[in-house]
Amino acid sequence: MNTDLDMYRENILDHYREPHNVGSLTDAAVHHKELNPSCGDTVEIFIKFDGDRVSEVSFIGQGCAISQAAASLLTDHIKGMSTAELTALTQQDIFDLLGFPVGMTRLRCALLGLKTVQVGLQKI
């Protein structure tokens, strides 16, 4: 089954080349790093809250265009969200942010940022 190259559209490559919300935050309530063992993609996420809502979010990452663009898009998306809303995020939300569904071979890349947020959230 050959892939559709739609995933390498310009806005994805823009997010890959110049990701949004890059950096670390001191005193972040959520600080967590995940690794995708098959390819070495990493995402380290930092989230601060104002009450129950996300006030600041940043990430440091390394890896393929899909993992890094998805993390960049996700950090834009979750600003202002409540912890309940963060927990409720699904695979489909990531597909919606990317603008296309991701097949099995690249699913872990696409979901790495989301996994990092949700596993990090469970630690607080």
């Binding site: 050959n2 892939t3 190259l5 390498y8 390819c39 070495g40 390394q62 393929c64 265009a65 890349c109």
Partner: protein, 410 residues
């Protein structure tokens, strides 16, 4: 390029994958991960399931006798293939299980301070089992480094292998770099200190000649599925004297001689290592794969793949921002070539190549410590060759890389 040793158009007729809907745009450059399967292997497996399906070593009837005869005949074929004796061949699920049998068998015989010597380019299958042995026994792992040209640093090996060395476990050919390891030379160094020599031939088998007498190894492991055989088949070769004293990893039916409620004694070598009903159909398919490789001839296969490797190295080197990760020579290497495209992750490249039907592997290739130590945190993209490949496949890969670079504006 000069005419290839093998005629791929003829070889493709043996592989059903080339007569299916893939034909014309199926560029399979991932045989190091798992090879395609030729018709004679499929026919042998089907013949078992369709005409003499029964268990081995058990039934008092014709089908079981045929199954046993065919299954045991493969032991002879495999033995001849690697220049071993019939009772030195154990059938396993694959290289991983073979290496686990050996590693497990030495847990009781090693003690704190003993040393196990590996190379830095071992596949996880020949690293993780030894890590577990080291944890259980307190023995120490030592790693033979590479020189800057990605070949084994034999001087370092001479320093590392010494009186404390109890086991030397090395790959015969790297699944990442393509480097051929001078295993016979290393074995000599290890045997001088009475160490046991284990060789992982998973990437070498079916691509270059493998001769256990010339290697003088005590154990050798390989898989069927990387040499045109079915998945879930593998071989562990062991010198008879080694197998007789090695404890089995799995216990149960068929591996026993006599069982009481409290105790059991083991069957003869090699059957004491084959507990439970084996992968009978798979082993019979493995036999057909051995016959298939022998029919084409390992020397001819090696020459074909060496020619194509030279062509691949040339074509890749011509592309700006591509770096070869491995020996950029055709001597002492197999047709496994890792490379890096600056500014592009291997997974992105593999995805873009797939859009044109070019199958490569991107990532760590089950050798994470090697890639990290070489500074390739994202892994590499890897092409690997077999008898089904020709120059058109290399050209399709090169064209795909150029396309990917255009998409990424590199």
């Amino acid at each position: 390029m000069s005419k290839l040793s093998l005629t791929t158009a003829k070889i493709h007729q043996d592989f059903p994958m080339y007569s299916s809907e893939h034909r014309g745009h199926f560029v399979y450059l991932d045989s190091a991960s798992s090879s395609q399967t030729p018709r004679p292997v499929l026919d042998a497996v089907n013949a078992y399931y369709e005409t003499y399906r029964a268990n081995v070593h058990r039934g008092m009837y014709q089908a079981s006798e045929t199954a046993t005869k065919e299954y045991e005949a493969v032991r002879r074929m495999v033995a001849d293939f690697i220049f071993a004796k019939e009772d030195e061949i154990i059938f396993t699920r694959g290289t991983t299980e073979s290496l686990n049998i050996v590693a497990n068998g030495f847990v009781e015989r090693l003690e704190a301070g003993d040393e196990i010597v590996l190379t830095v380019m071992e596949h996880h299958a020949n690293l993780v089992p030894w890590q577990q042995v080291a944890k259980k026994t307190g023995c120490i792992l030592r790693f033979i480094p590479l020189r800057t040209d990605y070949t084994i640093d034999i001087d370092a090996a001479r320093r590392l292998i010494g009186p404390k060395t109890k086991i030397l476990a090395v790959t015969l050919a790297s699944n990442v770099l393509g480097t051929i390891v001078p295993a016979a030379e290393l074995a000599k160094l290890a045997h001088a200190h009475s160490a046991v020599v284990v060789v992982d031939a998973a990437q070498a088998i079916g691509h270059i000649p493998v001769d256990v007498r010339k290697l003088d190894c005590d154990f050798l492991a390989f898989s069927g599925h990387k040499m045109y055989g079915p998945t879930g088949t593998g071989v562990l070769y062991g010198k008879k004297s080694m197998l007789q004293t090695l404890d089995p990893l799995l216990f149960g039916g068929d591996m026993i001689r006599e069982v009481s409620f409290e105790n059991a004694t083991w069957n003869d070598v090699p059957w004491k290592f084959e507990a439970g009903t084996p992968n009978i159909g798979g082993v019979i398919g493995l036999g057909a794969a051995v016959r298939y490789v022998q029919k084409i001839g390992v020397q001819g296969i090696a020459a074909h793949e060496a020619q194509l490797t030279a062509y691949a190295l040339q074509k890749l080197t011509e592309i700006p921002s591509v770096t070869i990760i491995g020996p950029n020579v055709t001597k002492e290497r197999i047709g496994v070539v890792s490379f890096d495209v600056a500014g592009m992750h291997p997974h992105d490249l593999a995805t873009i190549l797939d859009a044109d039907g070019v199958c490569v592997r991107g990532g760590h290739h089950c050798a994470m410590p090697l890639l990290r130590s070489l500074g390739h945190m994202n892994g590499t993209t890897r092409l690997s060759l077999s008898i089904i490949n020709d120059e058109k496949d290399i050209e399709a890969l090169a064209a795909g890389i150029l396309k990917a670079k255009k998409i990424f504006r590199i």
